[in-house]
Subunit: 361 residues, 2 copies
């Protein structure tokens, strides 16, 4: 609950050693982020010698405080092994949030380890059964928020309702919307479609304080169309859908590149249409959407893609700063409080899960 | 099992009344299909007066035998109501397959009704627990087969294994591949990813006769990349993934259209790159992928998109003809026989489903 205590010393703790090209990319990304957020103070955790060297040429070294640790959680490390590393840069960064030193954390390291450590160290917000992974993705009607993107392979009705509440707050904080519309991803838009848990979730959401914003069931193509501002789904479907969409965009991008490079007339056409094509390319640039947020925890946790570059990492820092500045977690707590007060969501339902759902996990 | 009896009178029974612009689009589509398959004989079921009028200007009316029925299953009709319509064009078309009059059926009508009627009238193939919806979709490495696309909201390990066997036969029949590679859609490629049912399915497939073709787990972006020739998944995930991919392609198509029409230089660029851009457009044209096959039934059942045009409907007929000519269902039976004989798949496992999986349905 660090972000609700009066101003922790640091805005963000940074796991400097996570990601494919850490710590170089991390320091370069911080350089860009510090330029955009002159007020921000970062606690940068990792190998001090390497970091000092990288910060030598930095214009914003003053915004960063380095804390040394020699231990790093590898990308392929099993979660159980990662949980045993008491001094890993990722763990120390998360702990600094738990201890109120920083308001949030950004890491480009091992996703499974980050999720597990964040749950163990920060714990879920009161009333939240399970945290979810949320991110912004492009659509024909502007950016939208999608969750869960893989934190939970199986989700019950209660989880989906919690995701809807958190997605609402996310869209308000990060996208700046006042009454974001919310859709529940399904195999059809008719009321009888899907399974019990999804129909039950729809009913609870409809009766809650976010009910007026609830659009109902949406389908896969509604993501690209931007039918709603928030797309709620379980972690398995969300992960597959996000990556399928990215894959389709990459496929068409590669094919277009061929068209515009394989012949003289193609190259000439590219030069003529360059401004429009470059805008389009920039708009769907995955770096612009980097930074998935682990929502539902006592602290802001942002996961950067491990393979991103400095621009991408800086964007993940932007997302984390947005969450901190907009007191994201306090607003989730308020939203959940309203849904529980209205009696729509039994307070203890998530603990047991019910025999049907618990058995299927 | 009509396609194994010596030559039924008709290659395909056609539900002339299904789809948004039936029967016009259906008759126009048959005109195109008959041109491509001069040997084909179609049993066309629907309103005789309307059909006779439409066939008046047809060059291929001789290939089509019209059978009258006044009843039509509406697009929004509930499944229970549809099942009670004894003389609906869709039902009579499916019954003609059950009675050995036609080897397969094509309908652009109500998907839920088609699935339910096909199950009731045709029954599943021996050894198959549940039919699946399969279709061809584009990728960077050529067309691939994906299933299930929505016939089953929840699938257990046995279902996924059956889908893999059917997907293998589908890829051989429709894509003409000799040893298609098979991937199981998951949230990560590492062995420990996903839930029990998906890990169990992977183990059974690995030990079966299609084991050498099994690539392992794939992720959403592997669909566009074409990492494997067959993508196996449950009906919920498959439906969402397919529609998400289509939505992403549509999004980028719309944005490109803007680039190439909003300025003079854009229009000039389009003219220069036209051959390449048109090829690309044609390649991702949804009509070229129209025709989802309901696999695992005693008879070939192909679902055309309800909103497609004559070209799209003709493509669905092409798909059905491929299945009939390649004796698709006999080959599935052979494949399943091999997997059961090898002891990998207990013959009766699918009937009970096991307490864990049955409870979660």
């Amino acid at each position: 609950m660090s972000e609700s205590t009066p101003s922790p010393g640091f805005h963000l703790a940074i796991d400097a050693m996570g990601g494919d090209r850490a710590p170089q990319i991390v320091v370069q990304g911080l350089e860009i982020a510090a330029e955009r957020h002159p007020e921000a103070r970062f606690l940068v955790i990792g190998n001090e010698t390497e970091l000092r060297m990288l910060f030598q040429s930095s214009k914003h070294a003053a915004a960063c405080t380095v804390r040394h640790t020699p231990d790093v959680i590898g990308n392929d490390m099993k979660v159980a092994a990662a949980l045993r590393m008491r001094n890993a840069s990722m763990r120390l960064a998360i702990e600094s949030v738990a201890e109120g030193e920083a308001a949030g954390v950004v890491s480009a390291g091992n996703s499974g380890a980050l999720l597990a450590l964040a749950k163990v160290v920060l714990k879920t917000l009161p009333g939240i059964d399970r945290p979810a992974m949320a991110a912004v993705t492009p659509s024909a009607r502007g950016d939208l928020v999608m969750l869960d993107l893989g934190a939970n392979v199986y989700c019950d009705a209660r989880n989906l309702v919690e995701f809807a509440v958190m997605g609402d707050v996310f869209a308000r904080s990060v996208l700046g919307l006042t009454a974001p519309t919310i859709g529940l991803l399904n195999v059809g838009s008719e009321e009888q479609k899907g399974d019990d848990r999804i129909r039950e979730a729809a009913e609870i959401i409809r009766d809650s304080h976010i009910g007026p914003q609830f659009y109902g069931f949406i389908e896969g193509h509604d993501i690209g169309a931007g039918t709603t501002d928030v797309v709620v789904t379980d972690g398995f479907t969300g992960n597959v859908a996000l990556k399928t969409g990215e894959g389709a965009l990459k496929l068409i991008g590669d094919l277009l590149r061929q068209v515009f490079t394989s012949s003289l007339s193609g190259r000439l056409a590219y030069m003529l249409a360059k401004p429009g094509l470059d805008r389009l390319k920039e708009w769907i640039d995955p770096r612009r959407y980097n930074g998935a947020v682990l929502v539902g925890l006592n602290g802001v946790v942002v996961k950067s893609h491990g393979g991103t570059d400095a621009q991408g990492f800086a964007h993940a820092v932007d997302v984390a700063m947005d969450m901190v500045v907009h007191r994201f977690n306090e607003r989730i707590r308020e939203g959940l409080g309203r849904i529980v007060a209205a009696g729509a969501l039994p307070k203890d339902q998530g603990k047991s899960g019910g025999p049907r759902l618990a058995a299927a996990r």
